[in-house]
């Protein structure tokens, strides 16, 4: 099984490990509830080194934006240097190969961050299109790096204890902005991004420095957090997960990430994405009462017992003290407060559709 450079640290912290996308990863350390609470109320640190940063560079700006714009559904051309963009790589059929973030360093350099489970597929796809149409573009997956996510409203305070402006200018960043670490020839970033609904940073560093930073954060009392709490945290803000809400067989419109789908530029799969209006879309829902929990693939029904979709992610919300999740539902049921029924082991349990998460976290957005 694959190991991240922080693997030994996880074992020292007595993490419970699981196989995740071929990596031996921590699912929890002290417990999912503890780790969840640390991130919502204070801050916590996740090892996300299983994710795959890829440096994309070129000799002229138009070739690069041409390449990125052809393979993704959101317009990359107007992305400013120092900003991060949430985007997705589409297939010719209009499905998603991966949801990604793109970091624009300058007109000639971008970092594309892919999900671990899709990394090899994405790299093959990028190389295939480079060879067919965009020969001048260079594609270099990072090696020997640590990627971690420091999440929670006290993240900036914890970083200030360790990093100075001599390392990176991170204090003026807002959500989806990044800076590069100084004193490196290769680009390593510190970005104000995350997957929890809270303020926080994602930090890419060379292996040795990454392990050092992790150890300092831990010794300063920052809670190590595993994939278990990460899943609950992202679900409570209805962030989609590849393999659950997002897949190769679902268009980004069906996955309700319409806001990143351009109707103007030309790109792979566009024709199929707009071919016909979607019959089903992804939405959040919250159970009407405490009780059994909805889980992935449980059927969703209407009042007369007809199947109207299925749960894509489900679990227990510490915020709302009951079951909740996301579901892929017939479009006519996508109304706030719409009653639906989740079939949990043969019993119907009422839930209410909730299009947007009611949770307001600590994310720091730049005011326009």
């Amino acid at each position: 099984m694959l190991k991240t450079p922080l693997h030994e640290e996880h074992l020292l912290l007595k993490a419970r490990m699981v196989d995740f996308a071929g990596y031996d990863m921590p699912v929890l350390y002290s417990g999912i509830r503890d780790e969840y609470t640390a991130v919502r109320n204070n801050c916590g640190i996740f090892d996300i080194s299983h994710m795959a940063p890829i440096l994309i560079s070129g000799k002229n700006p138009e070739d690069l934006t041409g390449f990125l714009n052809y393979l993704t559904c959101r317009d990359v051309a107007n992305l400013e240097s120092g900003k991060v963009q949430y985007n997705a790589i589409t297939s010719e059929q209009g499905g998603l190969l991966d949801d990604i973030t793109i970091y624009k360093i300058n007109d000639l350099k971008y970092i594309l961050l892919a999900n671990s489970s899709n990394a090899q597929k994405v790299i093959r796809h990028l190389n295939k299109w480079k060879e067919e149409k965009f020969a001048s573009v260079q594609i270099e997956p990072y090696k020997d790096y640590v990627l971690m996510a420091l999440q929670g409203k006290n993240s900036e305070m914890e970083l200030k204890k360790i990093l100075t402006s001599g390392d990176a200018d991170f204090q003026d960043l807002f959500f989806y902005e990044f800076t590069l670490f100084k004193n490196h020839n290769h680009p390593y970033f510190l970005s104000r991004t995350g997957y929890t609904g809270e303020d926080g940073f994602e930090i890419l560093l060379p292996e040795k420095e990454g392990i050092e930073l992790w150890k300092k954060l831990i010794s300063n009392g920052v809670a190590p957090c595993g994939l278990g709490s990460r899943d609950t945290l992202r679900m409570e803000v209805f962030y989609p997960l590849y393999g659950n809400e997002l897949s190769e067989t679902r268009t980004p419109i069906e996955s309700s990430i319409d806001w990143i789908v351009s109707s103007k530029k030309e790109y792979l799969g566009k024709k199929n994405i707009f071919h016909s209006p979607p019959g089903k879309k992804v939405t959040g829902f919250i159970m009407s009462a405490k009780g059994a929990l909805p889980r992935s693939h449980f059927p969703a029904e209407n009042a007369s017992g007809e199947i109207i979709g299925e749960v894509t992610s489900g679990g227990f919300s510490f915020l709302w003290d009951r079951g909740f999740g996301m579901a892929f539902l017939n479009k006519e049921y996508l109304k706030d407060g719409q009653k639906i029924y989740i079939d949990i082991r043969g019993k119907k349990n009422e839930a209410l559709v909730q299009i947007k998460s009611p949770y307001k976290g600590s994310i720091k957005r730049r005011k326009k």
Binding site: L11, A292, L293, F316, R345
Partner: protein
């Protein structure tokens, strides 16, 4: 490394056990009390919901009588013996955290009347249950 949870699991001497990680205690009133073991609660992690049969429900040894859900997993509760439910731990229905914190005492699940004594004698002793965990 991965055995750490089992080595640390608490097993009480005066209880009997099942291979499905339930414990059974003989009460002074002749009834029995059951719950899940420390190993079971630790494997499940944060327990957030327990579904149990109500008073008068029939119990059949080895059959599923309810479910216990943690944040990450759902697991069946199996009846350790034949009998019928006398009462269930109502506080668990409201807040199941006691199952994690104190599985052998305040985290008990059901009190039941057994159909006979023979099955009690057939349950695992503390030593036998420990052997079962060590073999994992």
């Amino acid at each position: 490394m991965e055995n750490i949870f089992w080595i640390m699991s608490q097993i009480l001497e005066n209880l009997k056990y099942t291979k499905d990680h339930e414990w059974v205690k003989k009460l002074e009133n002749g009834h029995y009390q059951m719950g899940i073991t420390d190993y079971a609660q630790s494997s499940l992690g944060d327990i957030v919901y327990v579904d149990m049969p109500g008073e008068g429900s029939d119990l059949k040894q080895g059959s599923s009588i309810g479910t216990i859900e943690s944040v990450k997993a759902v697991s069946d509760i199996y009846s350790p013996m034949d009998g019928s439910v006398v009462s269930k731990n109502e506080t668990i229905g409201e807040d199941p955290v006691a199952v994690n914190e104190d599985p052998y005492n305040t985290g008990w699940l059901l009190e039941f009347q057994a159909s006979g004594e023979a099955q009690w004698n057939g349950l695992l002793s503390a030593a036998q249950y420990k052997e079962l965990l060590d073999a994992h």
